[in-house]
């Protein structure tokens, strides 16, 4: 991943990101964007020239209506097209992150996209599929701080022909209590300010670790599919998941399985075939780390 920054004459700033396979252009003059985008994408290597081909050309800008003085709003544009309703101006940074997710999930079908997090360490690559609210972002962020490489906290991409997972290593989207919780456990973690009153509650973004950013173009073969569930006060409990159930859960959490047709079915079959499938209930990170590190040791032993 590379980045390039251009201050334009008219007050806009433009950044170019090379996110593994994607080239993204972001133009904005919104203060919070100017403040936090360079921070969040700082771990990635810089680029020198303006890229000739851009996959997603994004603008985040204030709505040009009278409202800008009363209750300012921001719009997200993908190449001039606004797929969403405007949001309050203070949410410009999360809007960019969510919007970019939308672009990838809706317009780019080179890969199968699963609504899942993905982490990797020593060749052990775990897919964490789960619906929103199951704590997968929190878990992914914690594992990243614990030394695992983050593939994504939101969209796990898998190449159809090979069933190989492809990283995008973006900032992690943290919500509500998990923000303070993670900051407490990992004081070294670098987070943005909190963005209040979003549709997902309070949101903050976590900067990817150097390990995640530096190897953002290195894929891995998935080895485990683990459906996490945060259950307050519980001790860690792992149970094997029936393969057909794991399969249905995986495709049920896909953004573009239906678009890939038979190739999507075959890829999902290969994933479920080669992966060990579990469900995981947890409440304490120490237990989770012990379990995940155990997966690594198991694989080295075998």
């Amino acid at each position: 991943m590379r980045r390039l920054y251009h201050p334009d004459a008219d007050g806009d700033s433009t950044w170019y990101f090379e996110l593994g396979t994607f080239t993204v252009e972001l133009t904005s003059r919104v203060d919070t964007v100017k403040k936090w985008i360079p921070f969040l994408y700082q771990p990635f290597r810089e680029t020198v020239a303006r890229p000739a081909f851009i996959d997603f050309r994004i603008r985040v800008e204030r709505s040009a209506s009278l409202r800008r003085w009363v209750r300012p709003q921001v719009n997200f544009y993908l190449d001039g097209f606004a797929p969403f309703k405007p949001l309050p101006a203070r949410q410009a940074v999360p809007l960019f992150e969510w919007g970019l997710n939308w672009c990838i999930a809706n317009q780019y079908h080179r890969y199968l996209h699963f609504h899942a997090a993905g982490v990797e360490k020593n060749g052990v690559m775990v897919i964490l599929p789960a619906p929103p609210g199951s704590g997968k972002s929190t878990l992914a962020a914690a594992l990243m701080q614990h030394g695992w490489r983050l593939f994504s906290d939101e969209i796990l991409m898998v190449e159809p022909s090979t069933a190989r997972a492809i990283p995008i290593g973006r900032p992690v989207n943290l919500k509500n209590e998990s923000i303070d919780l993670l900051h407490q456990i990992f004081p070294q973690a670098q987070l943005t300010e909190k963005f209040y009153d979003t549709s997902k509650g309070v949101v903050a973004l976590m900067k990817p670790t150097a390990e995640t950013a530096s190897r953002a173009s290195v894929g891995a073969m998935p080895t485990h599919i683990i459906t996490p569930r945060y259950l307050p006060g519980s001790t860690l409990s792992v149970s094997a998941c029936r393969k057909p159930a794991a399969f249905m859960a995986l495709i049920g959490n896909s953004f573009n399985y239906h678009i890939h047709g038979k190739a999507g079915f075959d890829t999902a079959c290969r994933l479920v075939d080669r992966c060990d499938c579990f469900t995981l209930e947890y409440s304490r990170f120490e237990e989770v780390f012990e379990f995940f590190d155990g997966l690594c040791e198991g694989s080295r032993g075998g």
């Binding site: 393969k243 057909p244 399969f247 038979k262 079915f265 079959c269």
Partner: protein, 92 residues
């Protein structure tokens, strides 16, 4: 349902994957994917190649399953119905 005839058209089931604990089927025409229960999977297997002509003969074929014998017609009926809903079998 004695005279109902069932036809199993395996062109509908171009893609399927069977694990020890169940099976999934991709239906290419609609693009839908279904998880099959054990009985449905068994029926698809035992019907492969030899479509029985009546529900009775189907029940005979399915009798090898460890289901209470008096329950069988109902369960087979229900299962066939759900298979029909996924367009995996058609009634003639």
């Amino acid at each position: 349902m004695g005279e109902v005839r069932w036809c199993l058209d395996f062109s509908y089931v171009e893609a399927s994957r069977r694990w020890q604990d169940g099976a999934v089927v991709f239906h290419p025409l609609s693009g839908d994917t279904f998880e099959l229960n054990g009985l449905a999977d068994y029926l698809l297997c035992c019907l492969d190649g030899q479509p029985p002509q009546t529900t009775e003969s189907l029940i005979v074929q399915a009798a090898a399953l460890y289901v209470e014998i008096e329950e069988l017609p109902r369960i087979v009926g229900d299962t066939l119905h759900s298979l029909q809903e996924c367009q995996l079998v058609r009634a003639l």
